[in-house]
């Protein structure tokens, strides 16, 4: 483990080294060939505590390379989970060979610098590298012990985890792109089972940060315990049409789903219900949606996108009117516009495509925290957990049907708990039926901020 922390130097020398490596490989490009080299390296620690003991301690380093080659508008890609000298040339050769088989497409090409300056966002906590493993273990053990003691109804703490990651990446292309980034993050997460009589319910909580300091075990514990305990005694809720209030965590999940319809690639390929609707009213007049990765508070904040262009603020929906989409280089060319600096990629083993990093809704009036929104709604269903988001939401047709757990809202306050119900509508109708947006913006893990949301006219299926 000590060997791995030494590699992650705090002075930025790590990313310089990666830039040099990426530049060297890009330099092997042949005439007539565009080459983009992405290299990444990371270290991670993960501790899981269970019943006063360390259940598992993981420490690891990983590194890899992803190379895109474009020849005559044909794209090939190859990757390797190693930065060993022996794999670099082989990976370039594979990417080159793959390019020969692709269909030539005038819109296919690598990003070229567009002159937009990058906004510096500091995502690196130098102190993380100096935290002894013993302290990380102790934090996980404390979290487990305190959660167990938090409430007599906690029957089990299934898992109490500490984790951190330090990641560095560099991107160099023959088209003039040269960017690097580094990022640290830390988290605590805990999952509990509460019980009373025959009823058992589960809840989870977490705390995230840029490093070790600032992680808040009370926050993680409090969330997990209250979520599990307040569901005790839940019964299958009643069927009917209702306003549904989504808590901040669930709102993040909803926005993430909507975001896939805002991808310029989905639009170009006829896979978005927003296609052809720019300038039209697609949402409630109170709906304004922006993707702004330059906001350093955002979990997905970044200076550069996955093709090395500067990230920037993009307004997507204003006053319910659709303003535009998010593009990477290829989808922008296809649409006849410029890239919005919105390329994302899933590490060195993935190719870039357009996507969101930091969505937020323009907040509602002051005082619209969770309680404020509940009071405004009066009667309805409050949802704290959703299941089957992958199996019951179709972002192309817009059909939306998911399992839910939560509490009834009566007289503007949370009332009895309910479970084993579904909430259904279509994404199109949900955007138009937005009743309230919380002012309680919280940057949760993921690509969208958490804000309490109230959506009207949803169908509940239950008893």
């Amino acid at each position: 483990m000590s060997a791995t922390t030494e590699e992650t130097r705090s002075d930025g020398a790590g990313t310089d080294e990666l830039l040099a490596l990426a530049g060297r490989v890009a330099g092997w490009a042949r005439t007539g060939e565009e080459v983009e080299v992405y290299v990444a390296r990371g270290t991670e620690t993960e501790v899981r505590a269970y019943e006063g003991e360390v259940e598992s301690l993981t420490s690891a380093t990983s590194a890899g390379i992803g190379i895109r080659v474009v020849t005559d508008h044909r794209l090939g890609f190859a990757w390797a989970g190693s930065l060993d000298e022996s794999v670099l040339e082989e990976t370039l050769g594979e990417a080159r060979d793959n390019a020969a088989f692709a269909t030539a497409d005038e819109h296919v090409g690598l990003a070229v610098p567009d002159g937009v300056p990058a906004v510096a966002v500091d995502l690196w906590d130098d102190r993380l590298a100096g935290i002894p493993t013993a302290d990380k273990i102790q934090l996980a053990l404390d979290l487990e012990a305190r959660t167990r003691a938090a409430d007599p109804r906690i029957r089990q703490v299934d898992s109490a985890d500490y984790g951190d990651v330090s990641a560095e990446a560099a991107l160099v292309s023959t088209t003039g792109i040269r960017s690097s980034s580094r990022k640290t993050s830390g988290y605590l997460s805990v999952s509990v089972i509460a019980g009373e009589g025959d009823s058992s319910q589960t809840g989870g909580g977490f705390s995230v940060g840029r490093g070790f300091d600032g992680l808040d075990p009370d926050r993680a514990m409090g969330d997990a315990v209250s979520r599990a305990v307040r569901l005790l005694g839940a019964t299958k809720g009643p069927s009917g049409r209702s306003t549904v209030v989504f808590d901040r965590r669930m709102a993040t999940a909803l926005l993430s789903i909507v975001s896939s319809a805002l991808s310029g690639e989905a639009v170009a390929k006829g896979r978005s219900f927003f296609a052809g609707r720019v300038g039209e009213q697609v949402g409630h007049p109170g709906l304004t949606l922006v993707d702004d990765p330059t906001d350093p508070r955002a979990y997905g904040a970044a200076a550069y996108d996955a093709e090395g262009l500067a990230c920037r603020r993009n307004a997507l929906i204003e006053g319910g009117v659709l303003r535009g989409f998010l593009y990477d280089t290829v989808s922008a060319s296809r649409a006849g516009v410029a890239s919005t600096g919105s390329a994302v990629r899933g590490g060195y083993a993935g190719t870039p495509g357009p996507g969101c990093r930091a969505l937020t809704l323009a907040p509602g009036p002051e005082g619209y925290d969770e309680d404020g929104v509940l009071a405004a709604v009066g009667e309805g269903l409050f949802v704290q957990s959703l299941t089957g988001l992958h199996s019951g939401v179709n972002p192309i047709s817009g059909d939306f049907s998911v399992g839910a757990e939560g509490l009834m809202i009566r007289g503007g306050k949370l009332a009895e708990p309910v479970r084993e119900i579904t909430v259904a509508s279509t994404l199109q109708r949900m955007l138009l039926s937005l009743e309230a947006v919380g002012a309680d913006v919280e940057w949760l893990p993921g690509i969208a901020a958490g804000q309490t949301l109230a959506i009207g006219d949803m169908q509940i299926s239950g008893a």
Binding site: Y50, E51, E53, V54, E55, S56, L57, S59, A60, T61, S62, G64, L75, G76, F77, A80, G81, S82, V87, T91, N98, F101, A102, T103, T133, R155, Q156, D158, I193, S200, T202, K236, S239, G240, K269, G270, R271, F273, A349, T387, G388, H390, S391, G392, S397, G398, D399, S401, V402, G403, R419, E420, I421, T422, A424, S425, T426, Q459, I460, S461
Partner: protein, 463 residues
Amino acid sequence: MIETPVLERVLSEALRNGGDFAEVFAEDRSNSSALLDDKRVEELASGRERGAGIRVVSGETTGFAHTADLSEAGLLRAAEAASAVARGGGGGTRTVAVGPSGPSPAGRGDRPTPRSGSKADALELLERADEAARASGSGISQVQAGFGTSTRRVLIANSDGLLAGDEQARTRFSVSCVALGDTGMQTGYETAARTLGFELFDEVSVEELARTAASQALAKLSARPAPSGELPVVLAGGSGGILFHEACGHGLEADHIVKNASVYAGKVGQQVASSLVTLVDDGTVGSEWGTFGVDDEGRPAQRNVLIEDGILTDYLWDYLRARKEGRVSSGNGRRQSYRDLPMVRMTNTFLLPGDADADEIVAQTPRGVYVAKLGGGQVNTTTGDFVFGTTMAYLIEDGVITEPLRDANLIGNGPEILQRIDAVATDFSMTPGTCGKDGQSVPVGCGQATMRLTGVTIGGTAE
């Protein structure tokens, strides 16, 4: 991949600080994939990764480290990191000797060597699928076809003397279609996936897959909203197996059982399902998607009967959870890659066929929903509440399958739903899927014959 004397020295190093058990899991995986979208071959990708995960178990604690460096020095560093959890116990030198027991450490045993296909062969299949899908109807507005193949070699050695290996070739082909009509867009998706090489295509017609996907999308253009509320449901053979994967499969994984985080804990010998239910998990079935030679702990795949005539007979076990109970693993220790700790996972999980006639089951259902295809699901093992989503469903009216329905999730509680199975037919088939648990994805198979549930809550929007 790694010489036996090196494995022995690494295992000895891993136990230098003490500990009860040490294991080296080495993996060498290569993937290649091709994607045809919007009538263009957009991306050919190749990837390669190799590495080893080393674990040391000391009392209740597991230390884990992984490395992409398979040299002896790299492995020894990882062993040292993993052994950090075992301070205080024993110490001194422990000599470890490993050797093959049972299956050949070379892997494939008597299975034939998988056939490989060229990139050009793969592209031809993609083009044939695209053509067949588009020829299915003028309503088809977009087609994406994907091909992927991987070879995964694993080598496992542990301090109990085990030395085992396996070579797993897997190939998949999928087609997804969008249909456009007056009511908006609808989607269809079909996939074929086996633990095979290119000989998958001796058994599977890509044109047929494409036509099935296209016909789903086209049929749903005239779909009406799914009902809201409880109705009898007939699940067609194949993908309906997802019901068992979610309703009880996960709840029978011993990691949930030992933490008392499953509704099935303590119920061996009890009636947990209708007497028509005999549920099997079997990693040895032909070339199904969840089939392998040895699991990721070196244990040969085996057939495990979980529920027999409605009585719970056993759980699924990995090395660690089995050891705690003084028994042996059931061959269900799996991991996504060398970067992950193994967990208890399903392989191919299926309901044995019954003796009813599939058509008769429909004919004897006056009103209900016929689910031709399920897309996925999710379960909370502690409460047993689960959802599963339809991607092709129809109404049953007066014993006849009538109008298509829009996608929806169905919700139920595992132990309750398993009692509501009142008919199982003879028309058994299997379907491939990807199972996600605690951040790790592994290939699995699901299967059943056409069957009926007397009542399930359907999460549609039609009151």
